[in-house]
Symmetry: C2
Subunit: 225 residues, 2 copies
Amino acid sequence: MRPLDGLARSLDYEFRQPELLEAAVTHRSAGSRNNERLEFLGDAALGFVVAEWLFEAFPEAREGQLSRLRASLVKRETLAEVARGLDIGDYLRLGSGELKSGGFRRDSILADALEAILGAILLDRGYEACRACIHRLFADKVAALSPGDELKDPKTLLQELLQSRKLGLPEYDVISVSGKAHQQHFVVSCRVPDLDLTVTGEGRNRRGAEQAAARRMLDEAGSDV
Amino acid sequence: MRPLDGLARSLDYEFRQPELLEAAVTHRSAGSRNNERLEFLGDAALGFVVAEWLFEAFPEAREGQLSRLRASLVKRETLAEVARGLDIGDYLRLGSGELKSGGFRRDSILADALEAILGAILLDRGYEACRACIHRLFADKVAALSPGDELKDPKTLLQELLQSRKLGLPEYDVISVSGKAHQQHFVVSCRVPDLDLTVTGEGRNRRGAEQAAARRMLDEAGSDV
């Protein structure tokens, strides 16, 4: 367990109240003055700062695309990677059980500690300092996003995926149309013969239903897109 | 459809860029320059501002309690109530289908528009203005939270709920204990004979497992606590 000023240096941040950083790296297994409340705060701050960042960085992205980009940045695995880049595991205060079972290597504990550190910075110097730290820590991750892929629509992505796997193109068919003129409801099937998979999608028009079906087929086909 | 300066007055906020407010009240059914991206932004801002607010207002609350309090504030029904208080329905730009089907009364459309308005204010004058607006709009809701209840643990809440319904007390039994000394894992059952319900909870100690079981029983018993 290294002294915490090393972690503050890695963060490029000087704490006015170092006890906040101490609490942020203290897992609940190590005592009641732990990082659970700070994690709640940091998680919310991270979600917001990343949302605002992506909103500005991808002016053409639709809401669903922004949501997926954000989810990829704030998911546990990504946070644990960032935490490992800061060697947070070396600084964790863990209870003896977690210590023995290698808790300092666990994604969930590392991710929670990173969020708690962001919460600690928010309390220590306020929103702008926290935002700046998030931008420093996640700059590489945001730069590595492939907005090109995210900005493509599901039908295009599905077609590209199938072509890359040398599989035949998907077939779309309208299964049903219901409702009156301005409130129509479409159900469309998407079938990939080479995968022997058929899914359906629904929407307010044919194109929307096809896109929904393609999105579901992407999920089924195990694409990471 | 009323002119938007009335809505700005209700919000006690003057837009530098009124076109942002116009976009915020435009549902996707009414065109491509709609409120979906603004809603993404406003949703994230609201989640963060409320998290920080509750963190400060309830210094004794644990993470799970803060999460539940926040969820109660940002859920669709609560947002729709706040939106109705601002008469947002009167200002919505809806497509003809949504207009005919009464979309201006729908919780989801009202809640989305409110979030989009918060996103519009964030873009218009920045974080502090957005935060101040959220504090104005949600002050009554936060004041009406019953932190007393939220700060009680699930076993206490369950007991009080059952007593208020003139039902017998719950019974807790240890079903299994596994793992070594410092990594034990408890499974406990909680049974309410008068409801003929049994659920289980897990935890790192008996008390934790009992609390988890009680929390699940509260859910099962349909408590709003």
